[in-house]
């Protein structure tokens, strides 16, 4: 394996950061309210200088309270899903693995739907009520992670195939419960649930949620990055890794939990945005190689770029209405995956 120098990694990441920045500027420009690039630059400068109070123009509030938070949410969700996807592909040694393969998204969806059903019957303070759905989604994801972990254990440690089978069947069982619930509850709720299942970044959150997400992302992604070397060795085979002194049991446990938490965080705020966690890692592997020390950070940036682009399209393609972002990622993602597959075979 080629050595990864710090300088090279920095250069690659910088390259992606520049692209991400450009994508964010474009995403900020397009939307229901037209904004000129000049005004955007001037106001960005003011925000950076801490003079955001001077932005008095009519669009300033919209950009600040709706468009920018949504872009930030897209960045976090995209980065989380891609890092989780990369991790699961290494953990399960399966190129088809994505963040949802072990049922985390189904668990989160079930939690959210239960919250939507229960919400009208609970006397909650309004500020908490807005948090109930994402909170229950996260609890659903956490419960699924725990259940699948115990299903996937064999002789006290995680075994890839058992984990995969346990996860897939858990996902399908949870989906069955969701279908059951959706066909029995009052129909006026199902419309919101369906949109939730398709993945959506239009939800507005209190500012503290964003900090929570950012913190969660850096902790979980940092933990996974700490095992990057071990993941590289693990890919060449479990026995080899053990001989080389890798604590396989610990690495698997840590990566499994951290990647699942990343997925849970992403799904609890955006629903199941598909394909990003599957394709971005493959794309980055193609461009930057399969060394996880490079692959993990580039995937994070690549995922952020992909989701921000997809969500911008979701906002503007049928404006003033919008599409669920999951519909865009699926339409673009599936053909892209086929292309990558044929390319690999050729």
């Amino acid at each position: 394996m080629r050595p990864v120098t710090f300088r090279k990694l920095l250069f690659q990441c910088l390259f992606l950061v520049v692209i991400l920045f450009l994508v964010v500027v474009i995403a900020l420009k397009f939307g229901a309210v037209p904004v000129s690039l000049y005004a955007l630059g001037r106001d960005l400068l003011r925000v950076l200088l801490g003079q955001s109070s001077q932005i008095s123009s009519d669009y300033g509030l919209i950009i600040q309270n709706i468009r920018l938070p949504r872009i930030i949410l897209g960045i976090i969700v995209g980065a989380s899903l891609s890092v989780a996807g990369t991790s699961f592909q290494a953990l399960l040694r399966n190129p088809l693995a994505d963040p949802y393969v072990l049922g985390v998204s189904s668990g989160a969806a079930l939690g959210a739907i239960l919250a939507l059903i229960a919400e009208p019957h609970l006397p909650l303070p309004p500020a908490f009520e807005a948090l109930l759905t994402p909170l229950c989604a996260f609890l659903g994801a956490a419960a699924t992670i725990t259940a699948v972990y115990f299903l996937g254990r064999r002789q006290g440690q995680i075994e890839s195939n058992t984990l995969l089978l346990g996860g897939v069947i858990t996902a399908s069982f949870l989906s069955a419960i969701i279908v059951f619930l959706m066909s029995t509850v009052n129909s006026s709720n199902t419309r919101g649930m369906v949109f939730w299942l398709m993945g959506n970044l239009s939800t507005s959150f209190q500012k503290s949620i964003y900090w929570l997400l950012v913190a969660g992302f850096f902790i979980a992604a940092g933990v996974i990055y700490g095992t990057a070397n071990d993941l590289n060795i693990l890919l060449s085979g479990e026995k080899e890794a053990m001989h080389l002194g890798v604590d396989v049991r610990r690495v698997r446990f840590v990566v499994y939990i951290a990647a699942s938490l990343l997925t849970g965080l992403a799904v609890s705020v955006s629903g199941a945005v598909g394909y990003v966690g599957l394709i971005v890692p493959h794309l980055m592997r193609l461009i930057f190689g399969s060394d996880h020390r490079t692959l993990l950070p580039t995937s994070a940036l690549g995922g952020a770029i992909a989701v921000v682009i997809a969500d911008t399209l979701a906002r503007i393609v049928v404006a003033p209405n919008e599409l669920p972002v999951g519909a865009v990622t699926a339409v673009v993602g599936a053909p892209l995956f086929i292309y990558l597959l044929r390319r690999r075979l050729a």
Binding site: L61, N65, A130, G192, F195, P320, N321
Partner: protein, 279 residues
């Protein structure tokens, strides 16, 4: 009436009828066992497959697909004809039309309020221009800011913030709960920038407005009352007189000329379920 669906809640007696399941997936066996002379279906709630299956069982069905309030009225008339009680249908239709006309006289001259009808908040789903719901808004002296040919479009919140509706309109099965929804929205940065949320300009009406039935008129009147309170304010003398002229009581027992603005339309034609929220 021998049976209805799991979701039928009006009139209260509807809950005691034999249930045939949901609107999308009713039990054909239960329907068959009830031996109905006619099954009522609505294109927006039921599936075509269900009516085809009913056909095969030899059970006739009557379908409606109203896109305007006028469609609803005419379908009620047709239904009465089908049921062999054309006089009753004509009476109901006439009363509905009369109440709409009276309302039109009262608020027709006022500029319509720009509203956002909120079907679902996160994600934001509203109603398109070709639904009877949008038409109901028009009858209530409101115009939807959402211009979509989709029936249930997901609307971009930015667009709403740009257009700044005068009112947010919610339809609720239970009066009282909607204020919670608005309190919830008022805590979110994206919604807080809507003037209507900040100033608590919202109208809450019965979910009867979602149903293609006579009660929709009460919901429309209720909405008009909340959007244009000035038109319903009691002016001494003259206003009351014209009101009585415009709105002669159809049912002597129930229909007092419009009660004052703060009271819901209790006792009129459609009874409590039809009119939510007297705030």
């Amino acid at each position: 009436m021998v049976g209805d669906t799991d979701y039928c809640d009006y009139p209260p007696d509807a809950k005691n009828k034999t249930k045939v399941g949901g609107g999308i997936n009713p039990s054909l066996e239960v329907i068959g066992s009830l031996h109905p002379d006619l099954v009522l279906v609505a294109k927006s709630f039921n599936r075509l497959e269900t009516t085809q299956s009913l056909d095969q069982l030899g059970i006739p069905s009557y379908a409606t697909d109203p896109h305007t309030v006028a469609d609803i009225i005419s379908s009620i008339k047709t239904l009465a004809d089908v049921l062999g009680v054309p006089e009753a249908g004509a009476l109901v239709a006439e009363e509905m039309q009369h109440r709409l006309a009276a309302l039109q006289q009262r608020i027709g001259g006022l500029p319509p309020k720009r509203t956002l009808f909120v079907v679902w908040t996160q994600p934001l789903i509203s109603t398109g221009q070709h639904t009877f719901l949008a038409d109901a808004l028009r009858h209530a002296g409101a115009v939807s800011i959402v211009d979509s040919s989709q029936d249930w479009p997901q609307v971009n919140l930015e667009e709403v913030a740009r257009l700044q509706p005068d009112f947010l309109v919610f339809a609720e099965s239970q009066p009282g709960s909607p204020s919670r929804e608005v309190e919830k929205l008022a805590t979110l940065p994206g919604w807080k920038i809507l003037h209507a949320v900040r100033d608590r300009r919202y109208a809450v009406i019965s979910d009867a407005v979602n149903r293609p039935a006579p009660r929709i008129i009460s919901a429309i009147e209720d909405l008009a009352r909340q959007l244009h309170p000035e038109a319903f304010a009691e002016k001494p003398g003259s206003a009351k007189k014209t009101m009585e002229k415009e709105n002669p009581p159809f049912r002597p027992s129930a229909c007092a000329p419009f009660p004052n603005a703060s009271r819901p339309l209790e006792g009129q034609f459609t009874s409590p379920g039809g009119c939510a929220c007297g705030r």
